[in-house]
Structure formats: structure tokens, C-alpha cells
């Protein structure tokens, strides 16, 4: 009896070994796939950023593989869900670099996570294409680290330019106590003097806040002419509700973090008239047909919306830009030499993405200009261009 079991076990082991050997041989005759890692906050507090990014990457990788891959090789996408936690991001980055030996990492979703793995990627010569906004990710420049969302400072400048047009001089600033909010606060404070804007009050609120009437009461008491809210948390739609409930009928400006129609839905009627800077993806339909980004934007938007049955957001667009810039660079440089790919990204000019037209250079690892932002507003529950 015993010997029969041993025999069975031997046969199973042999079969497995043969299978492994055969698959190994097959791999050698074919070209290895290109491994691309992605660290995204698919679930957790920043999931409304990370989930569309993950969906976008899955869709793009499939599209490229179905079309025969890039440089004759398939893309193998390895997605890790960091839940917006910097510690998770660090351990995933180590895994992707040391075990999976990826060519490049896309993400992380949030600024805090991106900063946490910036040095790690630089030291290990792994390309990082961050989908997060904070300017510190690419300033100072690290040769292997890039980012695709528009810079915070441009958002602040755009907001101030609009305020100048409206004759607004005295404002209140409220931000969340997350990396994005605090980064925005710094940019707003930095650019206020040169635009003749006085920040009468700055309040930092907790990112899990449920009701912000107390904060806004304090702001209202200062007699400000407009409020700027800078956050990526649900407070973005609590602020407008509370302002209206407090009878604050002054303009509300928000950051580019507002570029997700779900926030408009959650804020309902209170969202009407919010002004914010954003990439053109949300207004792809109304762009003039000769706009250089029109084709890219409508294709991505239609692909995404027909596949996932939900509205495309600018955040998915950042993942699109990161991924497509990488593919473009691999096409130019071939897949085997990371240094060549890096240099191809660094010298990429005129790449049309969802965030704008990228002109990267060794001193600018973002590559977008001030005009990559458009001022948008909410009208009848939809995003429209602000005039």
C-alpha cells in the first residue's frame, strides 16, 4: 500500500517538474514580457483616485497586448494595492524592484506615498512615474523619478489669476491635513503676494471630518471674499454644503482634486458654481475639434466609460499619461536597457496626454505648462468650462 502511494507521489512530482521544464523552454524561445509594476491606492481612503487608475492601467495593458505588445513583447502588469499607506508603498516598491525586477513603477497614487519611495527608486535605478500631484516629487529632480499630474503651483496660480479677474482680494483658505492639502497650502501662501491676494485665515482640518460648519464659521467671521478648499477627501463636498447652509454666498474655489463627478453628485445642489482648475479630460466633449488633445481625450474617455460603466476622472488620466509615456519611451529605446528608457522619457517632447502636452527635460520631470490647466465650474450637475 505504502509503495503505491510513493509511486503516485513520484509520478506527480515528475509531471510537475516536466511541466516546469517545458514552460521554461517555451519561455526561452519566446521573448520575455516587459514587467511594469504599479503601486496604487485601489482601496482605502484614496480609493477614488486609485481605483480609476487601476482600471485604466488594466485596460491599457490589455489594449496593448491585444495589439501585439510593444517592441514585439507583451506587457505584464503587476498591481499592488497600497491603500494610500506609505509603509505599504515602501514594501511593495521593494518587492517590485527586488523580486519582480520590474522595468518601471507607475504610481503611487498619493503624494505622501510617492515621496516615501522616491529615494528607493532612485537608488535602485528603477523608473518611477508618479500619479500624485505634490511638486516636491520632482523638485528637486531625481533622475529616475517623474510625475504626470499638473503641478500644484500652477493650480494655485490659475486660481489667483481667476480671482484677479473677479476683483477678489481677501480670501480664506481651508485645507485637509493630508500631504496634498498641506502641499496646496504652501503653494497658495507662496503665490498670494505676487497676485495681490491677502489670505485672511488658513485653517487645517482633519481629513476624516464629518461637519465643517465650525471651521467655516471662523472663516466667515473674517469677512473674506472667497474661500479656497484644497483637499482630496470627501470634505470637498461637505465644504460647499456647509457654506450654503451658513449662508456664505461667496465664490468657492477648489483644487484640481475636485475633478471627479462623484463629488459633484455627493454635494448635489451645493456644488453649483464651484470654480476649480483641472485638466481637459472632464470637458473633452466641449473642446473645439482642432484642439490637439481632443482625439486622445475622447478616445480614452469613451474607452473607459464603455468598459467600466462609470464616468472617467482626471485621476485615471494621470495613470494613462504615466503608462503611455513609458510605452512611448520603450518604443524608442527598446525594452532591455532601463537607462535608455529613462533618457527617452527625460527627452520626450510634444507627447499628447490627458493632462496636457508633455515637454520633459532633464530639469523638468513633469513637463506640463501652466496652460495644461483649464478653469472649470459646475453647472446643472456637470463640469463645464469657466468663462
Amino acid at each position: 500500500m505504502k509503495s503505491r502511494w510513493t509511486l503516485c507521489a513520484c509520478i506527480v512530482i515528475l509531471a510537475v517538474l516536466t511541466a516546469i521544464l517545458l514552460s521554461g523552454c517555451a519561455d526561452q524561445t519566446r521573448k520575455q514580457p516587459i514587467k511594469v509594476g504599479a503601486i496604487l491606492a485601489v482601496t482605502g481612503p484614496a480609493s477614488f483616485l486609485g481605483a480609476p487608475e487601476e482600471k485604466t492601467l488594466t485596460m491599457l495593458a490589455e489594449q496593448i497586448n491585444n495589439a501585439g505588445g510593444v517592441d514585439g513583447r507583451k506587457i505584464e502588469l503587476i498591481v499592488k494595492d497600497s491603500q494610500a499607506n506609505p509603509e505599504n508603498a515602501i514594501s511593495f516598491a521593494k518587492q517590485l524592484i527586488e523580486e519582480d525586477k520590474v522595468t518601471a513603477i507607475i504610481g503611487p497614487t498619493t503624494s505622501g506615498e510617492s515621496m516615501a519611495i522616491k529615494d528607493l527608486c532612485q537608488e535602485n535605478s528603477t523608473i518611477l512615474l508618479s500619479c500624485a500631484a505634490a511638486e516636491t516629487i520632482v523638485e528637486p529632480v531625481a533622475s529616475y523619478v517623474f510625475k504626470t499630474p499638473q503641478k500644484d503651483s500652477y493650480a494655485a496660480i490659475k486660481i489667483y489669476q481667476t480671482m484677479n479677474d473677479l476683483g477678489i482680494k481677501k480670501i480664506g483658505v481651508v485645507v485637509s491635513n493630508a500631504g496634498f492639502g498641506l502641499g496646496g497650502k504652501a503653494q497658495l501662501e507662496k503665490y498670494a503676494p505676487e497676485h495681490g491676494i491677502e489670505i485672511a485665515i488658513t485653517e487645517v482640518y482633519d481629513k476624516g471630518e464629518k461637519d465643517l460648519t465650525a471651521v467655516l464659521t471662523k472663516v466667515k467671521d473674517k469677512g473674506v471674499e472667497a474661500v479656497v478648499n484644497w483637499s482630496i477627501v470627501p470634505a470637498q463636498s461637505i465644504i460647499p454644503k456647509n457654506m450654503k447652509q451658513l449662508g456664505m454666498n461667496i465664490p468657492l474655489f477648489q483644487s484640481h482634486g475636485f475633478g471627479n463627478i462623484e463629488y459633484v453628485k455627493a454635494a448635489g445642489e451645493a456644488a453649483e458654481g464651484i470654480i476649480f482648475p483641472c485638466g481637459r479630460l472632464l470637458v473633452a466633449d466641449v473642446l473645439p475639434s482642432d484642439h490637439p488633445q481632443k482625439a486622445v481625450l475622447t478616445k480614452y474617455k469613451n474607452d473607459y466609460e464603455s468598459r467600466f460603466k462609470e464616468d472617467a476622472s482626471t485621476f485615471g488620466g494621470h495613470a494613462y499619461d504615466s503608462f503611455m509615456i513609458l510605452m512611448e519611451a520603450i518604443k524608442k529605446a527598446g525594452a532591455d536597457d532601463v537607462e535608455k528608457i529613462r533618457s527617452a522619457i527625460e527627452n520626450m517632447k510634444g507627447f499628447i496626454g490627458t493632462g496636457g502636452i508633455f515637454n520633459l527635460s532633464p530639469s523638468d520631470h513633469n513637463g506640463l505648462a501652466l496652460d495644461s490647466f483649464e478653469m472649470l465650474t459646475v453647472e446643472n450637475g456637470k463640469f463645464v468650462l469657466y468663462n
Binding site: 485601489v42 482601496t43 482605502g44 481612503p45 480609493s47 477614488f48 486609485g50 481605483a51 491635513n177 485653517e203 487645517v204 482640518y205 482633519d206 476624516g208 471630518e209 464629518k210 461637519d211 465643517l212 460648519t213 465650525a214 471651521v215 464659521t217 471662523k218 467671521d221 470627501p234 463636498s237 461637505i238 460647499p240 454644503k241 450654503k244 447652509q245 451658513l246 449662508g247 462623484e262 463629488y263 453628485k265 455627493a266 454635494a267 448635489g268 445642489e269 451645493a270 456644488a271
Partner: protein, 304 residues
């Protein structure tokens, strides 16, 4: 500080406090029967709100608004109650020697389970139930200060729950039996009370209250699958602050915490507001562990 501003901080505090209180009441029910803290209470709140949002989106286009909302809320409460009961039967009933620590760990596990399940059933998006009366922009103005009509709904529903529970525990046989279980489970068993049944009922009631709390607060707080734990922490602080097991005390403690948090912003940046809650909790645990409104002798009998 002008009177208007003072009043505005008061309203803001009442808004927060009523949200905390209605969450805290759910903790008290299970505590009253089992002597444990159900850490999945926050998830019941989220579950109720998410169900109501889904049903309301389905029903509002086809039915008059008030009817659609009532049906949505009732369905959400019924479903959550059912899930509460089911969870107790599947995960807790079979335990022969239910020590407090064991049950606490199980409820923490359940909160993870419920959170991940709601992520899969719904998704990661932020949703909000429609305001029961008026819209996102309507507000009631009183002596120059403003608040949302939804706050009245939260206060009203909290009052109804507290009074209803008070009557239930004092007047009905089931209610009395549940209190007997809490006082001494052995004595209750000797009197012929089906303790396991009482525990199931207490989970169902607290799930129902959690769901109702989720429905009335969702327009203000909005709802996302992972909001349960932060709501539960504040609710827990309030339950301890008032004195565990006492729903009237929970309302008082909720309002006190809400007002203190709201006025703390005069002195501190808003981001430090949670510090207020923690300091209060520590203070209470040091100086009056029985809670603000509980008697010392009474709390000496409690297990926790």
C-alpha cells in the same frame, strides 16, 4: 465673539454631538445584554446608509420623494437588522464560553469582514443620501445663526430611539429579560430566560439602530465603505463618557463632546479636534471611570 458666532458654534456642536450620540446608542444595547462592546457597530451605520442610498436611487425616479425615501430607509433598516441577526447566529451563538475578550476580538474581525464586503458590493465611491427635507443648500436660520434641517431629523430620530428603547427595556417582557441577562446571566438562565436568543435580539436591535443612524446622518456626513471605524471610535468615546449602557447618558455625552469639539476651534486649529475627544476620554477614565452620568455602585457591577 459675537452672539451670532457663539450660537453658530453651538449649532455646529449639536450637529456633531447628535451624530456621535446616535452611534453611541447602538453600542449600549449590545453592552446591556452581553457586557461586550460590539466594534462592528460603525459598520452597521455604513451598511444602513449604503443600502438606503442604493434603494433611494432606484425608487426616487418612480415614486413620490417622501414615499421613496421612507421605503428606502425602511428596507435599509430591515436588511441591516437581518444581517445583524445573521452575524450573531453564524459567528457568536456557537461559542460555549463567551469571555469578553473573545467576543471583542470576534467583533473586531466582523468589522473587517463587513467593511470588505461592502467594498465589494458597493465600491470605493463617496455617496450621500438625499436630504430628508429641503436640499443640500437649504438652512434654518435662528437668531442670525444657521443650521441644516437635517440636524433636526437627527435630533428627532435620536429622541425617538432613546425614548423607544427606554420604554422597551422597562415595559416589555423581552426588554426586561435582556436587562436580566446583563445583570446576571446565570440568574437569568435559572429563571428560564433564553440567553442566546436575547443576545441575537440585541444584535438585531443595535444593527437596526445603527442603520437608522446611518440613514439620518448620511446627508450630512456622506458615506464611504470605510467610514465605520472613525464613526465607531467617536461613538465609543461618547458611550464611555456617558456611562456604558445608558442611552439617555449617551445623548448628553454626545452633545457635550460635540460642543467641546466645536468650541475648541476658537483656541486650537481644527486638525487637533480629535485631541479634545482623547483628552476627555483619558480624563474620564482617570477620574470617573463609570462615566459622567452613571452611579458608582451601578458601574461596580459591570464587567467591563
Amino acid at each position: 465673539m459675537s452672539f451670532e458666532i457663539f450660537l453658530q458654534y453651538c449649532f455646529s456642536g449639536i450637529t456633531l454631538g447628535s451624530i456621535y450620540a446616535v452611534v453611541a446608542i447602538g453600542f449600549n444595547i449590545i453592552y446591556n445584554t452581553t457586557g461586550i462592546i460590539n466594534f462592528a457597530q460603525g459598520e452597521f451605520v455604513v451598511l444602513g446608509a449604503l443600502c438606503a442610498i442604493t434603494f433611494s436611487r432606484l425608487l426616487i425616479p418612480v415614486l413620490p420623494f417622501a414615499l421613496a425615501m421612507s421605503i428606502a430607509v425602511i428596507l435599509a433598516v430591515v436588511i441591516t437588522t437581518f444581517i445583524g441577526g445573521l452575524i450573531e447566529i453564524v459567528f457568536i451563538k456557537w461559542i460555549n464560553n463567551p469571555t469578553v475578550l473573545r467576543l471583542v476580538i470576534i467583533t473586531i474581525g466582523l468589522s473587517f469582514l463587513l467593511r470588505e464586503t461592502s467594498l465589494h458590493v458597493w465600491d470605493e465611491k463617496v455617496r450621500a443620501l438625499k436630504y430628508f427635507t429641503g436640499t443640500e443648500v437649504s438652512s434654518i436660520s435662528l437668531l442670525g445663526a444657521h443650521f441644516s434641517p437635517q440636524v433636526l431629523w437627527v435630533l428627532g430620530v435620536t429622541a425617538v430611539i432613546v425614548i423607544g428603547l427606554g420604554l422597551f427595556f422597562r415595559l416589555t417582557l423581552t426588554g426586561r429579560a435582556m436587562r436580566a441577562c446583563a445583570a446576571s446571566s446565570n440568574a437569568a438562565r435559572l429563571c428560564g430566560i433564553n440567553i442566546k436568543m436575547m443576545v441575537t435580539i440585541s444584535f438585531m436591535i443595535s444593527a437596526a439602530i445603527g442603520a437608522l443612524a446611518g440613514c439620518v446622518t448620511s446627508p450630512i456626513t456622506q458615506t464611504q465603505y470605510n467610514m465605520g471605524s472613525s464613526l465607531a471610535i467617536k461613538g465609543f468615546v461618547v458611550a464611555i463618557l456617558g456611562g456604558l449602557g445608558n442611552s439617555f447618558a449617551a445623548v448628553g455625552a454626545g452633545l457635550i463632546l460635540g460642543l467641546l469639539e466645536s468650541f475648541s476651534i476658537v483656541l486650537l486649529p481644527n486638525a487637533y479636534r480629535d485631541v479634545v475627544a482623547i483628552i476627555i476620554l483619558l480624563g474620564i477614565l482617570f477620574f470617573k471611570p463609570s462615566g459622567l452620568f452613571a452611579k458608582k455602585e451601578e458601574s461596580a457591577l459591570k464587567e467591563f
